[in-house]
Symmetry: C2
Subunit: 282 residues, 2 copies
């Protein structure tokens, strides 16, 4: 292939999002409101602890407060909802992130639904999902929003393109499909029961990997010139796409790490600042 | 083709749904609750008047009350929402149907959102959409639910099949895509900006036509043996598929009229009875 593959640099996109937030945070602080993200972690899963710490550190670097709530592994659904309600009612908190997965005995959906829509900066509530599906979300889920932000930052055309999304989770596959659809892509949603997955992926002008299996998407599945958005983040910093094998076929690709991940965090920060600004107007 | 095409008889499916409701309505009435559907019609669009009258008549035949609210063409969004709130608060009303389209000056989405989720028997609210997308709706949109009911009545396999949905409206294309996805179909969502539509439709094991253009889907687009679900209902009782041309290619097809339409109404009645039963338990 004569044309070089473009590496979609998530760190650069994230930095430009964060750069644009600095002035807004400064203004909010001057007006007496420091944006604040509350993170709720239940249990002691090391990966989840790492994610929460990363998010907290990212807040700090921008001057955004973060309020860390850590709950015991044995916390009940009712106790968790009680904590979420306290955060809903706390005017100093602008965004609430419940780190998932939560322990199995907790009704995760009920806990997500407890988050007030005004503070649902991670876009996990059902109402937030529907608003996003209808193109009018306050806060779309961060990873899908990050995928769109990267494509927009690199001026990758979406309208009329065939996007193949591999994965159908409520916070990734389903919402990113709706976002691509609302941007006038034709969207195919694949999953574990899909037959002839390779054939379907090979039709994608845009391929979104959201399946959570390391190196799952193979190089010879990729249509020459396709754009690959890899939202996978598996143990050992490995994406859902076999990067080396996919790279030569793609016109553009997100690396893992350094692709969708940092933009997801930047989007979370942006939503927190958005929420803080909204709270000022309320 | 040696095998005959199966005509999916919506009237028969509708009758068996309604037959099953009779005993439930009887029991509710004995217990002092007559299920009641409120229909709200704004303006004097003749087609909408016909639909509302058909729904009212269908209620009557089953012993379900229907409360018809007809509002002037010039009704404001606020006035319409006020009427909907009265119906929300009326314990004798179990389901609310706002006939759409409403006049252009009305904020249809705001009016839909005013309907209480417990009475949203037509599945038009955003929360109802999301519940449906996550496989846990009280009342999925009636036309998508009717499409699924017909396929189930005829034992048409869905899991692992490639379903191509043509149309992406909030009450048809999007929810039916989510329902097919939740039943483990691979789903491609096409629309007015889709390129190579014929090629995409020709891959569908199941084709759902939800585009609102008479005779739009052509016979030579249809994969041999595909199942065609035509949710179109255009002027002159014409579907979205060119029926005569599609028929010989399909293994099964819904006619228009007599396909998805009657099952949509039966589903609305079923949801109204469901809502009445739920109100007894509340």
């Amino acid at each position: 292939m004569s044309k070089e593959t473009l590496i979609l640099d998530g760190n650069q996109v994230a930095n430009s999002i964060k750069e644009a937030l600095k002035e807004r945070v400064k203004r909010l602080v001057q007006e007496g409101t420091t944006p604040c993200l509350a993170t709720v972690l239940v249990g002691d899963d090391p990966a989840s602890e790492t994610y929460v710490r990363m998010k907290g550190n990212a807040c700090k670097r921008l001057g955004i407060d973060s309020k860390r709530v850590v709950l015991d592994q044995m916390t009940s659904t009712e106790q968790l909802i009680h904590v979420i309600n306290e955060l809903n009612n706390d005017p100093s908190v602008h965004g609430i992130l419940l780190q998932h997965p939560v322990p199995h005995h907790i009704d995760e959906r009920a806990a997500f639904e407890a988050i007030s829509i005004e503070k649902d900066v991670d876009g996990v509530t059902m109402l937030g999902f529907a608003q996003n599906a209808f193109g009018q979300a306050l806060f779309p889920s961060c990873t899908p929003a990050a995928i769109m932000a990267i494509m927009d930052a690199y001026h990758i055309p979406i309208e009329g393109k065939h996007a193949v999304v591999v994965g159908r989770s409520p916070i990734l596959g389903k919402p990113v499909s709706m976002m691509l659809l609302n941007r006038n892509a034709t969207v195919t949603i694949c999953h574990s029961r899909t037959q002839n997955l390779d054939h379907l992926v090979s039709q994608g002008d845009i391929v979104v990997a959201a399946v959570g299996k390391p190196n799952f998407i193979q190089g010879d599945w990729i249509k020459p010139g396709a754009v690959i958005m890899d939202a996978g983040y598996n143990e050992g910093n490995i994406g859902d796409c076999d990067y080396e094998a996919c790279f030569p076929h793609a016109s553009a690709i997100t690396p893992v790490p350094g692709g969708v991940g940092p933009v997801t965090i930047a989007t979370l920060l942006k939503h927190t600042v958005d929420a803080a600004e909204r709270s000022m107007k309320a």
